[in-house]
Structures are given as structure tokens and as C-alpha cells.
């Protein structure tokens, strides 16, 4: 396992930043919902990015992190970083 997937990211968000009521209400369709609407602020995003760095070896630059508005954008940014680095960390 090398790429980050949306379900895995959702699990990470839940573990490190809790679950807003809105996340549960949206069910599986949260990928394109604005993070702010999901109740996740910039610290929640930093916390998740820190976990992703440790588990996947993908370090997102701060300016890239600041651009992220949805979970799907987060997944894409991480996987692009992984691909460009050519690294494959086991999870």
C-alpha cells in the first residue's frame, strides 16, 4: 500500500481531529465538501498532515497545505508528492 486513499484519510482525520456531526451526516460523499463545513480548521489539517508525513513519508509544503480546501484535494496533493518523490513507503 503506497497511495493515500480517501477512506484512509477520513480515518486519519477522525483519529487526530475528531469527527464533526457533519461528517457523519454526509456519509461517503465528503471528499469534495469544504473542510470548513466539515468542522475541520487549519490545525486539524496540520495535525492530519503530520500523521500523513509519518505514515506515508509525504511532506506537503506549507503553501501547498494552505491551498487545500477539501479531503479529495488533500489526497491528490499527497499522492502527487509521493509520485514526484518516487518514493514508496509501506504503510
Amino acid at each position: 500500500m503506497s497511495e493515500l486513499t480517501l477512506p484512509v484519510l477520513i480515518d486519519i482525520m477522525r483519529e487526530c481531529a475528531g469527527e464533526d456531526e457533519a461528517v457523519a451526516a454526509e456519509g461517503g460523499d465528503v471528499g469534495d465538501v469544504e473542510l470548513e463545513y466539515l468542522g475541520y480548521d487549519s490545525l486539524a489539517l496540520m495535525e492530519a498532515a503530520s500523521r500523513v508525513k509519518r505514515e506515508f513519508g509525504a511532506e506537503l509544503p506549507d503553501d501547498a497545505l494552505a491551498e487545500i480546501r477539501t479531503l479529495n484535494q488533500f489526497v491528490t496533493a499527497v499522492n502527487e508528492t509521493l509520485a514526484s518523490a518516487g518514493t514508496r513507503h509501506s504503510h
Partner: protein, 405 residues
């Protein structure tokens, strides 16, 4: 002048969750000092504490808040919920900028801080939670309560060890005079982790007894320091005219406040606890003759007890006023201690009974209340001292059981 009254209370205490449970347990003299069960205390000289049990984080907090809060903040959020519900001051209140939050803190979020220090030195800086940026901080209870309940009026935090619990309430009263209609105030503490206990032990003020019934004996010749505890209380302090207009139940009034600081250690000048009490009484327009019960600070050290006992004798005469210190059941709770005493004092005035301080044989000429004592009082004096010289006093006036005008 604005009259500041208490219209809601929320309690998290080692001997009771919720105001009613705490009051009932305290009246019964039910103790809650036990061996610390969170970690192996073998290497620690002090191994007892007043611990809050049966507090279920998941059941009391949105899961979103759990990863970003220390235990003390979870207590504070629960107590704030209860106090606001008790005051029937709900989220429908229109002017959020007229509602404030002013809390006291003495230790900060030690459990959270310890865990993140372990992450830092055990795993590296990448493993430190982003929430460390605020979760440990003294002001965090005020901030989290303000955010959760959308209270946008005057906010602040007061840090003055055990005296801070009174100072915060006084600061809330000032905010009412400044135009706020209600302020959530009080203090909540939890620092019983190994890191928190190590800091407490370094103060040299903790009892090293392993006997829960003999470890914290203020005013007793066998006094040997205090036992720490966790918890505290949140109160809704409200402008009385506003409270009456909306038909709120008024528990009692914050009638007077005084605070002083002591001379340096080993000074020949006396401690200033008595002066704080006199200032509070003058602020209330009352004299010592008006005081029906004193809730003592009850330091538990030989010197601290001597100062307080001599102060009470000077002000009231030998055996001159009923004195109680129900905190002996649960330990000293630092910023959480005095707000709990304020809750007890207001309930004592309403119910007409003084909660007891069981199991103590005072070595001073004090009328220490050893079992529940019926009385017909209207006025209580609450004293609190913070380590290294803080003295604070609060005068409370009951409003009786009948809340109708």
C-alpha cells in the same frame, strides 16, 4: 450599582458530578481521597489525590473536541454546559456580546503537556500534536467555552493559584458592572499526571501520608500538608435586574470582594489574609458581626493554618463564628477549590445547613463544624489563598428559597 447574582452552577468534583450530587455527598461528609490510580506512584513521595471518577469524555463532549482538549478543559466544558442549562441561559439568547467567560487557572493542561513532551523527546518534533499550541494553556478553558457557546462578551483568565478561583468571580462581577449581562466564571483544574504531581511535590506542601483519612487535616495538630485534587465549578454570574426580568432563579449574591498580597517569606510583617476579609466586608457594606459562616482556605500546613486561625480569631473572636472546610473531603483543587466553596456557601445559605468538616480536632480556638449544622444565616465569607502570598476573600449573601419577588 449593578448587583451580581449567581443564577446557575455546574460542578465536577471528586465526590460528585453535578451540583446536586456534590452537595449531597458533601453534606453526608462522603470522602473522595484515594490512592492515585492513573500510574505507578511507587517513586513518588505523595500518592493520594481527590480524583474525579466516572467522567466519560465521549458521552459529554463532541468527538471533535476530544483530541484537542486536556482533561481540565473537558471538565470545564461539561460544567459550563450544566451551569448554562441551570441558569436557563440558552443558545437562543440574542446578544452574544453581552455574555462573557472569565475563568481561573493555576496549572494549565498538564496531562496534555506531559503526553506531548513524551512525544517530543520519545519520537521527535513531528509527533507533537498541533493542538499543543493551545491545549495546555491557562486561557484555554475560557477560549473553548467561549467558542462552544458563542459567548462573545468580556473574556479573560486569572492566574493566582488557589486564590484565583475567587479573583475570577470578582473579575466577572466587574464585567457585569461594565455592561455585560451574564458571565460564565469559575475555575477547573486537573494536574494529577506524574508530571503535574512532580511539580506539586516540588512545592514541599503536599502530605506524604498514605492514609486517606489522615493525610489532609487542616487546623489539626496532626496537619502535615495537603492532598491535591481535580475538578472545580463554573457559575453563571448575572446582573440581578436582568435575571429578575427574565424570571431566572437567583441562588445568591456576590456582595463583596477583597484581595491582598503577603510580605516576603520571613518578613516580620504579618500576613494580609485578614485585610482581604476586611476589604471584602467593607465592599459589601457589612461587618464581621454580619458573617454567619466562614468557608476557610484550610491550607493544611502548620504555618498556613496558624495564620488563618489567628486571622479568624482576631476578626471574630475565639470560637466566634462557625468555620468549615469541606475541601478536606476532596483535597485542594487550586483554581477549582474556591468556586466549589462558593457553590457550597450559596447552597448552605439557601438550605439553612452548614456542610461539615469531619474528622478534625482543631488545635486552635475555632468553631469548626464537624457535622451538618442547621443555621439561619444570610451571609457567608469564603477565603482562598494562593501559594506564595495571594489572599482573596468573597462575601456572599443568600436570597432564601423563595425566588419570587
Amino acid at each position: 450599582m449593578t448587583t451580581a447574582v449567581v443564577t446557575g452552577t455546574g460542578v465536577v468534583a471528586p465526590n460528585g458530578l453535578g451540583t446536586e450530587e456534590f452537595w449531597s455527598a458533601t453534606l453526608q461528609g462522603r470522602p473522595a481521597i484515594t490512592p492515585i490510580d492513573g500510574y505507578d506512584t511507587t517513586a513518588f513521595p505523595s500518592r493520594l489525590a481527590g480524583q474525579v471518577r466516572d467522567f466519560d469524555d465521549a458521552g459529554r463532549l463532541p468527538s471533535r473536541l476530544v483530541p484537542q482538549t486536556d482533561r481540565m478543559t473537558r471538565f470545564a466544558l461539561a460544567a459550563a454546559d450544566w451551569a448554562l442549562a441551570d441558569a436557563a441561559l440558552d443558545s437562543g439568547y440574542p446578544d452574544r456580546t453581552a455574555l462573557g467567560v472569565i475563568t481561573a487557572a493555576a496549572a494549565g493542561g498538564f496531562d496534555f503537556g506531559q503526553r506531548e513532551l513524551q512525544n517530543l523527546w520519545g519520537s521527535g518534533p513531528d509527533h507533537v500534536s498541533a493542538y499543543m499550541s493551545f491545549a495546555w494553556f491557562y486561557a484555554v478553558n475560557t477560549g473553548q467555552i467561549s467558542i462552544k457557546h458563542d459567548l462573545r462578551g468580556p473574556t479573560g483568565v486569572v492566574v493566582a493559584e488557589q486564590a484565583g478561583g475567587i479573583d475570577a468571580i470578582a473579575q466577572a462581577r466587574r464585567a457585569l458592572r461594565g455592561g455585560a449581562t451574564a458571565v460564565l466564571t469559575g475555575g477547573m483544574e486537573s494536574s494529577l499526571s506524574p508530571y503535574g504531581m512532580a511539580a506539586r511535590i516540588a512545592s514541599g506542601r503536599l502530605s506524604t501520608s498514605d492514609d486517606p483519612e489522615r493525610a489532609y487535616l487542616p487546623f489539626d495538630p496532626a496537619a502535615s500538608g495537603h492532598v491535591p485534587g481535580e475538578g472545580g465549578a463554573m457559575l453563571v454570574l448575572e446582573d440581578e435586574a436582568h435575571a429578575r426580568a427574565r424570571g431566572a432563579t437567583v441562588l445568591g449574591e456576590i456582595a463583596g470582594y477583597g484581595a491582598t498580597f503577603d510580605p516576603p517569606p520571613h518578613s516580620v510583617r504579618p500576613a494580609n489574609l485578614g485585610r482581604a476579609a476586611e476589604l471584602a466586608l467593607a465592599d459589601a457594606g457589612l461587618s464581621t458581626d454580619d458573617v454567619d459562616v466562614v468557608f476557610a482556605d484550610a491550607d493544611g500546613s502548620v504555618e498556613g493554618d496558624r495564620v488563618e486561625a489567628e486571622t479568624l480569631v482576631r476578626l471574630f473572636g475565639p470560637y466566634g463564628v462557625p468555620v468549615t472546610a469541606p475541601k478536606t473531603l476532596i483535597g485542594r483543587l487550586y483554581s477549582g477549590g474556591a468556586p466549589l466553596d462558593v457553590v457550597l456557601a450559596l447552597l448552605a445559605l439557601r438550605e439553612g445547613v452548614i456542610p461539615p468538616t469531619p474528622g478534625i480536632t482543631p488545635g486552635h480556638p475555632l468553631d469548626l463544624v464537624s457535622e451538618p449544622r442547621p443555621f439561619h444565616g444570610t451571609t457567608a465569607l469564603v477565603l482562598a489563598r494562593g501559594h506564595n502570598g495571594f489572599n482573596s476573600a468573597l462575601v456572599l449573601r443568600g436570597r432564601g428559597k423563595d425566588t419570587s419577588e
